[in-house]
């Protein structure tokens, strides 16, 4: 089975995000970049399949600026087989639908059996690229996936299709895809693996081919969505702290405050 994982490099989720002076973008100074968390789960999910069936190959692709190569390198070090960067001036500011168009071109060339994406990128939080890519390819997609496996009735290798576990309210639905599909990943079964030292050495030497978004026919100027303002969320705090008291009295006092002051009980 040939799997393609689409990923995005975003600010590491443990860092604070500062709004830039222009008031409509994020200040990149001091930002540590990483694979977007859901995309990292997607990489792990693909590699778990490769662990189970070594004939599986896992390729990764991203659309973004040159720094995104580090994220691809990280994925290679985790165990992915090959990586492609779609960059160029046009790739810097593409919105979701245009990113999906660029990815669709890569899929047309690479011809994977299965495409995995994170359910949303941790920067814009849109959750558009996965479903939009499936739409452009004319493939079905399954969202909020936590697991997939060769269809139970089928032979190993998944040629009879795959069963896909979709997280929904109250449990999981299992869906069968008999042909190519896009899965948007909620979480992998295991935490994403750390790259091994040999993995890191191997990844360093690997060639990462670059494709120019403009050359793929992708244009940035057709934007239908424009960010006009960014601001930090309103500051909270200055809350009332109850301590040192008898817990029974504290509980009664809190119930009173929630009823009379906050009016939420």
């Amino acid at each position: 089975m040939k799997i393609l994982v689409c990923l995005k490099q975003t600010p590491d989720s443990t860092v604070r995000v500062k709004v830039a002076a222009d008031g409509r973008s994020v200040d990149p100074s001091g930002v540590t970049w990483a694979i977007s968390p859901y995309d990292e789960y997607a990489v792990e999910m693909a590699l778990e399949r490769k662990d189970a069936d070594p004939t599986t190959t896992v390729a990764v692709v991203t659309v973004g600026p040159a720094r995104s190569k580090d994220a691809l390198r990280q994925a290679l070090a985790m165990g992915c087989d090959e990586a492609t960067l779609v960059d160029g001036a046009a790739a810097e500011t593409l919105e979701g639908l245009a990113v999906a168009r660029a990815l669709a071109k890569v899929v047309d060339e690479a011809k994977p059996d299965l495409v995995l994406c994170g359910r949303q990128a941790s920067d814009d939080d849109q959750g558009l690229v996965g479903p939009a890519l499936a739409e452009l390819l004319g493939w079905p997609h399954v969202a909020t996936v936590t697991k997939f496996a060769p269809a139970e009735a089928g032979p190993p290798g998944g040629t009879n299709g795959i069963d896909v576990w979709k997280e929904v309210e109250g449990g999981h639905e299992v869906w069968r895809a008999s042909g190519a599909a896009v899965l948007t990943v909620q979480k992998s079964e295991k935490e994403p693996r750390y790259p091994s030292l040999p993995g890191i050495m191997k990844a360093k030497k690997k060639e990462i081919p670059e494709k120019d978004a403009g050359a793929l026919g992708i244009e940035a100027n057709a934007a239908t969505l424009e960010t006009v303002k960014m601001e930090p969320p309103p500051a909270r705090g200055g809350g009332r702290i109850l301590k040192d008291g008898d817990m029974k009295q504290t509980a009664a006092e809190l119930v009173r405050l929630l009823r009379e002051e906050a009016k939420v009980l």
Binding site: V174, V255, L257, V264
Partner: protein
């Protein structure tokens, strides 16, 4: 200005977020409320195909849908099918000329943004973002039959999470009670459940707790889990990692209980209790029971 609201139904009737979206559509213009019918389990292709045909005929300017897991999935693919602008998890929507002005969070809640979406557009709306006017009649709903011929996936079965049935869905809950590592083990969730039951609340959890397997993943609140915006969020034994805070900091009122007075959760709490939650929670539950019984 033609505005469509797509609604979802649960066993109890039209979902609350759908009523919010329908009310907002009416505010914004000439509203039509639609529901995809004829499928037991939602899957995108049959619904998108039916709605895209409907949109081609009806030519709405704006389609609103509740940002439930289904709504976000459907909204994104429908926008791609139509080639329209798309914005997800809106907390505010207005129209200015030929654009929708959408308020939404980015970076998992660390940034609030205003975006301009060129109409026509599809916008998914975060539960709790808009009020349902008091005394409003249930909207008239136009049924749109799902296009079964477009389906390409085959439903196999449903695997329920143990003991999850009948719970309030996390994303839409007006009260959330969340537990963290301070609860020391899954066996201590009984008291969390009891309190949540009294409050009609959904259960949430910190990532440490879902990663440890104490609670199911779907209860995780924060960056790689759910973003919640209830009227009341109660954090029990949660220290407040930045990823957790991002997912709950837009709640209206936050209560935190933790024995460490330096815990980061207190920086966002409206009411903080420094103390032993094993003493506090049972006492608090009793006090809540008293006022609930009085009515």
């Amino acid at each position: 200005m033609k505005v469509w609201a797509i609604v979802e139904r649960s066993q109890a009737g039209i979902r609350r977020v759908s009523l919010e979206v329908a009310a907002k559509a009416k505010d914004l213009g000439d509203a039509t409320v639609l529901e995809v019918t004829g499928v037991e389990r939602y899957s995108s292709l049959a619904a998108v195909s039916a709605l895209a045909n409907e949109a081609a005929a009806g030519a709405p300017d704006l389609i609103l849908i509740g940002a439930t897991p289904t709504g976000r999935d459907l909204g994104a693919r429908l926008a791609a099918r139509l080639g329209w602008a798309y914005a997800s998890e809106a907390t505010g929507v207005s129209v200015e000329g030929s654009n929708a002005i959408v308020g939404r969070t980015m970076y998992a809640g660390k940034v609030r943004a205003t975006v301009r979406a060129a109409l026509p557009a599809v916008v998914s709306v975060r539960p709790g973002a808009f009020a349902i006017p008091g005394g409003a009649a249930e909207p008239q709903v136009k049924a749109v039959a799902a296009d079964g011929r477009a389906e390409r996936l085959a439903f196999q079965r449903f695997e329920p999470t143990a003991a999850a049935s009948g719970r309030v869905p996390l994303a839409e809950a007006r009260v959330v009670v969340s537990g963290g590592r301070g609860l020391r083990g899954p066996e201590n969730w009984k008291m969390v459940e009891e309190l949540a039951g009294l409050l009609g609340a959904a259960l949430g959890a910190s990532r440490a707790v879902t990663d440890a397997g104490w609670r199911p993943n779907e209860e995780q609140v924060g960056q790689t889990g759910r973003t919640v915006t209830p009227d009341l969020y109660i954090a029990l034994g949660i220290s407040g990692a930045i990823q957790h805070l991002a997912g709950m900091t837009s709640s209206k009122v936050i209560v935190a209980v933790n024995k460490d007075p330096e815990a980061d959760i207190f920086k966002v709490a409206d009411y903080g209790v420094v103390g032993d939650l094993f003493e506090f929670v049972p006492a608090f539950t009793e006090e809540v029971r008293k006022v609930k019984e009085k009515g």
